[in-house]
Symmetry: C2
Amino acid sequence: MQVLKNILIVGGTHGNELTGVKLIEKWEKRSEKIRDLCPSAQVKLLLANPKAVLLGRRYKDRDLNRSFSEDSLASAESLYETQRAQEINTLYGEKGEKTKTDFIFDIHNTESNMGFCLILSARDPFAMRASAELTHEFPKTRIYFQPEPRAASPYLGTIAKADICLETGPQSHGTIQAEIFETTEKILRRYLELAELWNQGTLQSMPLRKVDVYTQFRDVDFIRDAAGSIRTMIHPALQNRDFEELRPGMPLFRTFDGEDIPYEGAQSVFPIFINEAAYYEKGIAMSLTLKTEELW
Amino acid sequence: MQVLKNILIVGGTHGNELTGVKLIEKWEKRSEKIRDLCPSAQVKLLLANPKAVLLGRRYKDRDLNRSFSEDSLASAESLYETQRAQEINTLYGEKGEKTKTDFIFDIHNTESNMGFCLILSARDPFAMRASAELTHEFPKTRIYFQPEPRAASPYLGTIAKADICLETGPQSHGTIQAEIFETTEKILRRYLELAELWNQGTLQSMPLRKVDVYTQFRDVDFIRDAAGSIRTMIHPALQNRDFEELRPGMPLFRTFDGEDIPYEGAQSVFPIFINEAAYYEKGIAMSLTLKTEELW
């Protein structure tokens, strides 16, 4: 059994996602309240992108949460986030087997109707067990499995041995909602309690839980013109329907002239990150997932 | 009776408010479809802030929709939006009695739960009559009366003799929602039909309508620390409750430690623009209005 000796909780990886920013600010004032939940581990706090927080923007020069691939960490590029990622990697990594950090919780917000989405980048035993418990304790929590080749992955969490990315929403970037703030805090606190149970060997002996696992399938972009301008919108019947079934033939997009465009895949999928503003520039109108029931 | 000879429809005054951007783009391709709705007037279309549209941001250097006061229009400042405002004023103004434009419709989005909000900056007879009709024809339309001293007012609409600003939401900035797009288009088309009826003298003889008028009362900021950082959030019972009654003693804010802060005004108010991201920098957590029933 692998004990979690070093845990890092991260907020403000994107400067305009205020739930994490405000949670880190709050906890830094009285960090013993957080540390007491998991006394068997070193629990550290990190505001990842302070310059973007000051600007009130997702990032200054480039997306920090796309700057942690091994290539980017070795890059001589002078962009702020490239440098900041390397600094964070030196402090809390370095990325790879010998990293100083066993587990990262990275707190994000989305404008999509994702509820409290627990993103696993690997089938890590603690991440699976703890997340399975949480989906039975908190409404609107869901598990998204987005397997990442760790060395090439650009995400901050991948500098630790394992990680959970919390995506909570819908919340417009640059704003904060009390209900999302308070529930995210409860979920994080519960994760730390479960980490303590894990380190004591208790969590491992609790009965497994049935969970719905939404696994990354593929991203879908808007239909665009030659200049890259969008020519379709999310179909109104699909807006806000994250994690709901989309069957072949159901409406996917609508054009500005009112024409409906159906989903033409061969099988049912479960779209998430529907109409997230930050993904327009990444060419993603939504991510499609496949749903399975598993025992975790 | 004053005939509306020149009408200007504006989108993209804020570059990340996509409903207006996409409506102007759509109509520019087949402008006769719009012009045919009000053949007695010259109907023009304007994408107000193309640089901000390209950047996908509210503005480049400063808020264009705060750049139309007489002082700002006379300023020698080299900021992009200051210059662009002066250019727009030359083309479609100039602001004052002799302006070339009788009426402006300016299309905006908000992240607040405002539905389809019709903002009048003056008690203009056509704006009142037409908006009163619209509130009876379209659900979720509401009238907000925000009286502006025309010369000092910084809003784009004030370079015309009269104007309506459409604020539609909730829609996250940088995204577009099909339902909001389609309803905004219907409302604009109907306004043009009503302008035609006005120019024919028909609208004036139709029976007056009872309307709820929400009149600007005062803005409320978050409680902040000395550095300007917010120390409160919108109370969860108030989030998304735009245009609903807030009575003295009802919860207004919640701190990050879970303490509730009540509204301590002397009278009932009706908050709008609750938790709009673009207003954090302007020191506005919401705008309070007073509600009256009037015959328009």
